[in-house]
Amino acid sequence: MLPYACDLTPEISYSNFPLLKKEQQEFIARICSLILREDPENFPTPEPRGHFVLTLVNDCLDNEQRAEFSQGFEAFQQLFSTANEGAFQELEPEELQRHILENIEEQETEVGIFLNHLKTYSLLHFETSENYMKNYLNFEFMPGRYYGKVPV
């Protein structure tokens, strides 16, 4: 008799990252949220932050950038094992935040590149939210007017 198991949990697969496991996706979403916290109540978006960022990483990075992203992600996870902090799923938010802060300014390193891709797309997600565009960037879909001499 062969042992078997069926996992019926729905899971999103990203075509260019077929080996990215659900817990890794969730971990990336956590990182994104620490870089720029999601605020669905005040800044709702059509999709969750993690899914948006992974979609952009999957679709908009070219082969070389995707390889860099994967290497950076791998290296970022290695930081915890070398620091004897256990699996990344178990990291406390403060610890994870500390690792992000320590590495995100190093834009030439593998980890820095990885984190900055996440930051770039997290910013894009936030800055294209309806509330931000309308109330902070004065976006109007159909302004129907143009005034060129408006006193501040």
């Binding site: 720029l36 605020d39 082969n63 309806e130 001499k149």
Partner: protein
């Protein structure tokens, strides 16, 4: 859109007309799938995917080939061509063509443009002058709807304008400064094909006023800007005289040696690949400049072994375009207490001033330029977490204005800038691929340097700071203003078309799209294509009525 104009003129005057389009139909309102999508509703927030860029190195260099409008552009892999030298051939294969995604700038050409080749000794003399086209410009503008000011400039004649949008403080300031510092230079409102007021003809077309959405490339549900789909095609269909046949790739024009005229066209169904011949008394070729060249080159017969009407061997030669490589940007701190509200779909415009009245530089001809001014916004994005979010929420205008201009340079038509048919490679429909051999020359390089010098000076005199010039490296073709190859002229030995756009050697074939252009001027050419088409079509109609063709 010139094909739409020909269809309108013929059908309005009672002629049964067949309008062939190689791509699918695009019906106004029905086939604008992204027109009402908000920015946050796009999966990639407007960006292209890496695969789309990799698959479309040419199309993706076009500013409008983005997530919201990419479906209106030809994909590189589906419609290959041969680049002898780098050339971005930007195309829109659908009913309405590129009129859906065009930039909508509609400046008339001036007497100096039609006089140019004869005065300055390049190309050949135009067989027409501005006065021959002036009334047709007015005719076309009345149907299109052009927002503009009457500026009273002989370098950019006024037209039948709808009211303009307001100028902003810096646009007005720069305009005044240029007027003060130069007697021969002007900064005016860029005339654009947008409805700013209503007229009975626009109501009859079913079009509403422009609401400044500035996403015109998606197609406008209001009909606020002019495209063939919202105006010309339905107008022609309404007469009951138009048969519109999409998915019809014109292979060649059929020539009858006994009758010594064209008798129709061979068409390949783009989907079934079946070939069928259609017959007509008269043919207007408006496939957009380079495809019109391709069709004529591929129209071979015993009488015309090198392409229809090509006795002089000049078909496909003297291609020219607009040089859009040079830009300049700067900042201005003069109006910190002012900002903008709303939006408008045009910028300001600096008509050509170089070599206008006489030759004054070591290069021929000149350039026009855009001018725009906008309040600069500062958004810091340092760090992560709450600090980062706080910075985003404190985004603000700085009180400093950004300004910028881009050059629109006239290039000189040369025999060496040409297109031809590949002798071996064919497309999916068995039609030879077009080989494009077009490049910049020294005249263009000198013009770029002059633009940098002149605009740096104009900007400096206006008190602008942080002036930066840039060569954006745009390839020929990326301006999407390619013209020529089937040029008009007075002499059949040196041109293909006469003063009525009629082929010298095949009188019932007319070419009225960009292929007919003898030189390129600096102004956006679409309005001139439309005016030339309306003029030629009405001439052809008179000839038909008199049974002279």
């Amino acid at each position: 859109m010139s094909g739409g104009w020909a269809a309108k003129e013929f059908t309005e005057q009672g002629f049964k007309t067949l309008l062939l389009e190689r791509g699918p139909n695009v019906e106004h309102l029905k086939d604008y799938p992204t027109t009402n999508m908000q920015p946050w509703e796009f999966k990639h927030r407007g960006r292209l995917t890496a695969k789309e860029i990799e698959d479309n190195p040419v199309a993706s260099r076009c500013y409008a080939f983005r997530e919201d409008a990419k479906h209106f552009f030809v994909k590189d892999k589906e419609h290959p061509y041969e680049q002898v030298k780098p050339f971005d051939w930007i195309r829109g294969y659908q009913v309405g063509g590129k009129s859906i995604m065009w930039a909508r700038q509609v400046q008339r050409w001036s007497p100096y443009d039609f006089d140019g080749p004869a005065r300055d000794g390049f190309a050949v003399d135009w067989p027409i002058r501005y006065k021959d086209l002036a009334d047709w410009y007015t005719y076309v503008e009345g149907f299109v709807g052009v927002s503009g000011n009457k500026d009273g400039l002989d370098s950019l004649p006024d037209g039948d304008f709808l009211k303009p949008w307001e100028s902003n403080v810096v646009e007005e300031y720069f305009s005044q400064q240029v007027k003060k510092n130069y007697s021969d230079r002007h900064v005016i409102y860029g005339r654009c094909a947008h409805l700013t007021e209503s007229r009975p003809v626009f109501i009859e077309q079913g079009r509403g006023l422009c609401m400044s959405r500035r996403i015109c490339q998606r197609g406008c549900p209001l009909g606020g800007y002019f495209n063939a789909n919202s105006t010309l095609i339905p107008w022609a269909l309404k007469t009951g005289n138009l048969t519109l046949k999409p998915n019809s790739v014109v292979h060649s024009v059929l020539y009858d040696e006994t009758e010594q005229k064209a008798i129709g066209v061979r068409v390949i169904d783009s989907i079934t690949k079946e070939s069928q011949d259609y017959f007509a008394k008269m043919i207007f070729l408006n496939a957009a400049t380079l495809n019109t060249n391709l069709i004529l080159l591929n129209s071979k017969s015993n009488r015309f072994p090198n392409g229809l009407g090509n006795d002089n061997g000049l078909l496909g030669k003297y291609i020219a375009f607009h040089n859009y490589r040079a830009t300049i940007s700067a900042e201005y701190e003069g109006f910190p207490d002012y900002t903008l509200e709303g939006a408008k779909p045009t910028t300001h415009y600096v008509p050509r001033f170089r070599n206008l009245y006489k030759q004054e530089t070591d290069f021929l001809r000149g350039y026009a330029a855009g001018f725009e001014a906008f309040p600069l916004r500062e958004t810091l994005r340092e760090g992560i977490g709450n600090d980062l979010k706080s910075q985003l929420l404190h985004t603000k205008e700085t009180g400093i204005w950004g300004v910028g201009s881009h050059m629109m340079g006239e290039t000189l038509p040369k025999e060496s800038n040409q297109v031809s048919l590949d002798s071996e490679k064919t497309d999916e429909w068995g039609i030879p691929l077009l080989r494009i051999d077009v490049d910049y020359d020294d005249n263009d390089e000198k013009m770029i340097q002059d633009f940098y010098e002149q605009f740096s000076e104009m900007y400096s005199k206006a008190g602008f700071s942080n002036i930066v010039t840039n060569d954006n490296g745009r390839r020929p073709g990326n301006d999407i203003h390619e013209m020529g190859g089937v040029r008009m002229g007075k002499d059949p030995k040196t041109s293909l078309l006469n003063a009525w756009n009629q082929m010298h050697e095949c009188k019932n074939v007319f070419v009225t799209d960009g292929a007919c252009m003898t030189s390129t001027s600096t102004q956006n050419p679409s309005l001139t294509f439309m005016a030339i088409t309306a003029r030629a079509a009405n001439y052809a109609i008179q000839q038909l009525k008199k049974d002279l063709i």
